[in-house]
């Protein structure tokens, strides 16, 4: 169903659109972000600076952006999906050559007022272009090899570029989000089965390559995997992060040690306490109850998105919403797994909570797309 098929009159217009926003989703986003503000205030030792204050400002900017995106009809976004995808690829290329190096990887473009991380943008645009592709592709062709190859290429280009930075975590997330879109689009099971086989083979190849000239991933990535598998092997080196993070989580208990009473984060035993490891501070200070609350908010956001997606009448909206939900899910699932010692430390922030500009702005923009799809869903019958 193309946008021309929408009965425009059945779609809310003008300021009425505001009434059709997914307000439940907005409230949940605000709730999640507020948890972030509180934690950033806490890890700064009870101070708005240096993290909570800019985070709040960025969140407000992001919310405004989300509204703007939501007000623009979804068919517009569908039509520019390919362009957005190409722009993201260009940004990735730019960062490759002119980016600022941080933590051993080229990841940002310094825009002055913020650091733009093109890989974040690419995550969303890849989902967009895939959704648009499957919207355009006649459903019966979905599983034909040629028509499978095209989306695969669409995914692999940004994945390869992100891997080049190198940012293993984000590239895996991109792969997973793209794969999800393809899966939901109705691709035949056999493809996924073969991918799983290939994936296992690939992992095997990666480990086989260790120490050879054609080593596929960096040494530090190997070490992270090693320490993930056995954090105790190196408690003061690379395993430090995971060990300290687990100590912080575990010492929280049921109700936590109280607001701003977390010794692990306050005394700097936690690494990256305001970014990737902020969940540990939450769990330390507010305990199991606090951590579960955030997890519940996150899961509700995902459930709201999927429920919304399943009611959409066009494939673009459905696939885009599910793809974005998946991207969001992958963010917090990987981050939480990481701090709980269930996944290697890959440098994925906790969405909306971790301090960081571009990730939050891009995510809120993506939720703008979700809202746009939600607002512009035809209500009534199709002629």
């Amino acid at each position: 169903m193309s946008y021309l098929e929408y009965r425009v009159k059945a779609v809310p217009t003008g300021f009425r659109k505001v009434l059709y926003l997914h307000w439940g989703l907005i409230l949940l986003l605000i709730a999640a972000a507020s948890v972030g503000f509180i934690m950033l205030y806490s890890v700064a030792g009870g101070s708005l600076s240096p993290w909570a204050d800019p985070q709040i400002k960025r969140f407000i900017v992001g919310m405004i952006g989300m509204f703007v995106v939501a007000m623009v009809p979804i068919w517009f976004w569908r039509n520019i999906s390919a362009v957005a995808y190409l722009i993201a690829l260009c940004l990735l290329a730019v960062v490759e050559f002119f980016g600022t190096t941080g933590m051993g990887a080229q990841r940002w473009i310094d825009l002055g007022f913020m650091r733009l991380q093109p890989s974040e943008v690419a995550k969303i645009t890849t989902v967009m272009v895939l959704a648009a592709y499957y919207d355009w592709l006649p459903p019966e062709k979905v599983s034909r090899p040629f028509w499978v190859l095209i989306p695969l290429v669409l995914i692999m280009i940004p994945v390869a570029m992100v891997l080049q930075q190198p940012d293993l975590g984000t590239s895996l997330l991109l792969l997973a989000a793209g794969g999800t879109v393809m899966f939901v689009a109705g691709l035949h099971w056999a493809y996924f089965a073969s991918v799983i086989v290939a994936g296992v083979g690939g992992i095997f190849a990666v480990f086989q390559s260790r120490g050879t000239e054609w080593q596929l991933i960096k040494d530090y990535q190997f070490r992270r995997i090693d320490t993930f598998l056995d954090p105790a092997s190196d408690p003061l080196g690379a395993g430090y992060h995971i060990t300290q993070s687990k100590i912080a989580l575990g010492s929280g208990g049921w109700t936590g040690r109280g607001f701003m009473q977390g010794t692990q984060s306050r005394l700097n035993f936690l690494p990256e306490k305001h970014t990737d490891f902020i969940f540990t501070t939450l769990a330390e200070e507010f305990g199991f109850i606090g951590g579960m609350s955030l997890l519940a908010i996150y899961l509700l956001i995902v459930i709201f998105c999927i429920a919304s997606a399943l009611r959409h009448k066009d494939r673009y909206s459905t696939l885009l919403t599910i793809g974005i939900a998946m991207t969001f899910f992958l963010f917090f699932a990987v981050n939480m797994s990481m701090v709980m010692g269930m996944a290697p430390v890959v440098g994925v922030p906790l969405p909306l909570v971790s301090y960081g500009g571009s990730a939050m702005l891009v995510l809120l923009g993506a939720f703008g797309l979700v809202q746009s799809a939600h607002v512009h869903r035809p209500r009534g019958t199709i002629k």
Partner: protein, 648 residues
């Protein structure tokens, strides 16, 4: 416009199905996360909270103040004095070079110190203080403190360091402290965590070492919260330690300082013992050294000078060196013979100047001989031949037994380093150590305190005290610990010797110093209340060959210093009611009568009068010389009142 085909409807349903599957998987994964979190946070919470506390809580030791050491009158022998350091905290200083340059305008900082400071700053965390200067004076500290505003990061710090105000006076008895070394740690199974503090000061020799555990005290501890870098954030609680016990010695600093001054440049030692309770009043070894140098870290040159000095300043001669006691041993031989009943005091032996036994010729010190000698004369004039004769009669077993009874050949338990046992030989000892049978000549040699016999000045003082009292006095160095008398009073049982025999010996000793013919008549005391009884000793450190004897024995003055005889003298006083016993050994001093006896006499008088004796105690012809000597010595003695312990 596209039509909705049955096919695409099918696929649309597939999309919904798969969308729901994805959502279901996500919720499933969320549930797994929740379970994992429950496992970590609820099931293992206690364990992790413990780990978090281990992370953040550091136990820091608070070193206790080391116990002080006083003499019997409260004069401080070892104390803790504040020592000032200048430190820099790099992160507060900002421009370290600039601050160091400014500091060097105020106080002298060597290039070496600056280089070391900078190197250390590079190594350590920026919030940890780095010492620039150690042991700076109060003046320097105040100059730095006044200029503090222009010296960011510079902080004067105060610590305690050991100090010995009397410097070399008690070095051998009190000893000194030094930083704990890895060898100290290996050799000790002491679990005290204080020893793990880098450069913690522990006793190295002397009383400081022997009473280390009492003096050290118990460490306090404070629990502090630290961050991941080790910076202290706050103190959680603290438990103060217990200061080390204060020791009061039996020694008398004024007598000790007199002894040291009186020994002068000699390589000599003196022990003064209280005959009533065994307390040691002075135990001086000369020359000495300044223990403060060892506390600060002695320079290689200074140490070399001490080590290579042929007068051996580092040796604690009073207890660690054993000398042939020479004629001071004759009381032992005489008593052994009297107790064994092999002679009577009035029996005489003819001394022709030499004595022959089993083909060997033993000489008397007096070449022409003493003629007929009875016991009194034998001690008074120190006739050797008389004792050679006794030795044959009494035998080495009786001789050794008597020596041991009088405290020779016994390691007296006093808390000083390297206390020697000396040697009282026996047949078994010779067989085991020299792999030779005991011969009668050995007994003859032993009878005059030569040959294998050796004893420390401390043992000689004990021997003299036992002869003077007839009781088994043992030396005692610690008077009280933290005000409580140290240990039970030493046993003072009778030695079980025949009082008449003892009286003979004492009388003969009295004649040594008070009879015109006595060997130490020149060193008599003429104050009747304080008459002294003593015995000279001159012990050979070389063999005199027959050829030398025929040409006339070379006099000591013509020999190189280190081949001259040791001069010894032991005495007790007052004769009627002995209060003190004194042993003096002057290494290579020559004759006991001329080198050791005058020193012993002066020290005896000093001890009895508790200060300078009146000149009337001296023979009139000596008085002028003594007056001058007293004045000279007074100039050498430190002002003890200045360092007396302040009493509340």
């Amino acid at each position: 416009m596209k039509r909705t085909t049955p096919d695409s409807a099918l696929i649309w349903r597939k999309v919904s199905r798969r969308g729901m599957l994805v959502g279901g998987l996500q919720i499933g994964f969320g549930a797994m996360l929740a379970l994992r979190m429950r496992h970590l946070q609820v099931d293992q919470a206690d364990q992790f909270r413990l780990l978090a506390d281990e992370n953040r809580i550091n136990v820091r030791l608070i070193p206790p103040a080391r116990g002080e050491i006083y003499d019997r009158n409260g004069v401080i022998l070892a104390q803790n004095e504040p020592s000032y350091r200048i430190t820099i905290i790099p992160e507060d200083a900002g421009d370290v070079d600039l601050v160091l340059r400014k500091l060097s305008h105020l106080v002298y900082v060597s290039e070496e110190d600056i280089a070391r400071t900078k190197a250390e700053i590079k190594r350590s965390a920026p919030f940890l203080p780095v010492t620039i200067l150690n042991r700076v004076t109060w003046d320097d500290i105040s100059r730095v403190a006044v200029n503090a505003p222009s010296l960011p990061g510079i902080a004067p710090e105060v610590g305690l360091s050991r100090q010995y105000p009397l410097e070399d006076l008690f070095a051998h008895a009190v000893g000194y402290v030094g930083p704990v070394s890895s060898r100290d740690l290996e050799n000790s199974d002491d679990p005290d965590p204080l020893l793990r503090i880098p450069r913690f000061q522990i006793g190295k020799v002397g009383i400081e070492a022997k009473y280390e555990e009492l003096l050290r005290g118990r460490a306090g501890a404070k629990r502090v919260e630290v961050n991941a870098l080790g910076r202290v954030m706050r103190e959680l609680d603290r438990r103060e330690g217990t200061a080390g016990a204060n020791l009061q010695l039996t020694l008398d600093a004024s007598l000790q300082s007199y002894c040291k001054a009186r020994l002068g440049e000699e390589s000599a030692s003196v022990v003064v013992m209280d005959c009533i309770n065994g307390e040691l009043l002075a135990i001086a070894s000369a020359p000495s050294y300044d223990p403060n140098k060892f506390v600060r870290g002695i320079s290689y040159a200074d140490y070399g000078a001490l080590r290579d000095n042929d007068h051996r300043p580092l040796a604690s001669k009073t207890v660690q060196d054993a000398y042939p006691p020479g004629s001071t041993f004759k009381m032992v031989t005489a008593l052994a013979a009297l107790e064994a009943g092999v002679i009577s005091p009035n029996e005489t032996v003819y001394c022709p100047g030499h004595f022959e036994v089993s083909g060997r010729k033993f000489h008397c010190w007096k070449g022409g001989g003493h003629g007929n000698v009875d016991l009194d004369k034998s001690l008074r004039e120190s006739c050797d031949v008389y004792y050679y004769d006794l030795a044959i009669k009494v035998g080495i077993e009786n001789l050794s037994a008597m020596a041991r009874r009088l405290g020779l050949g016994e390691r007296h338990d006093i808390p000083m380093s390297a206390v020697t046992t000396g040697l009282i030989p026996s047949r078994e000892w010779k067989l085991a150590n020299r792999n030779a049978e005991w011969v009668v000549g050995d007994t003859v040699n032993a009878s005059i305190g030569q040959g294998f016999v050796s004893s420390s000045p401390l043992q000689l003082a004990v021997m003299t005290a036992r002869i003077a009292t007839g009781r088994s006095l043992v030396p005692k160095l610690i008077k009280s610990i933290d005000g409580a008398p140290a240990g039970p009073d030493m046993p003072r049982e009778s030695l079980g010797l025949n009082e008449n025999n003892l009286r003979f010996i004492r009388r003969a000793m009295y004649n040594v110093t008070n009879d015109r013919r006595g060997t130490a008549y020149g060193s008599r005391i003429i104050e009747d209340a304080f008459r002294m009884a003593g015995k000279t000793g001159t012990s050979q450190v070389r063999n005199i060959s027959q050829a030398e004897r025929e040409q006339g024995v070379t006099s000591n003055a013509d020999l190189p210093w280190n081949r001259r005889d040791h001069a010894l003298f032991v005495d007790f006083a007052p004769f009627d009611d002995p209060r003190i016993s004194v042993a003096v050994v002057v290494e290579h001093g020559g004759a006991g009568s001329s080198a050791a006896a005058p020193i012993a006499r002066d020290i005896t008088l000093q001890a009895l009068y508790n200060g300078d004796p009146p000149l009337s105690a001296y023979p009139s012809k000596d008085r002028n010389r003594i007056a001058k000597q007293q004045k000279d010595i007074r100039d050498l003695m430190p002002d003890l009142n200045a360092i007396k312990r302040e009493r509340a």
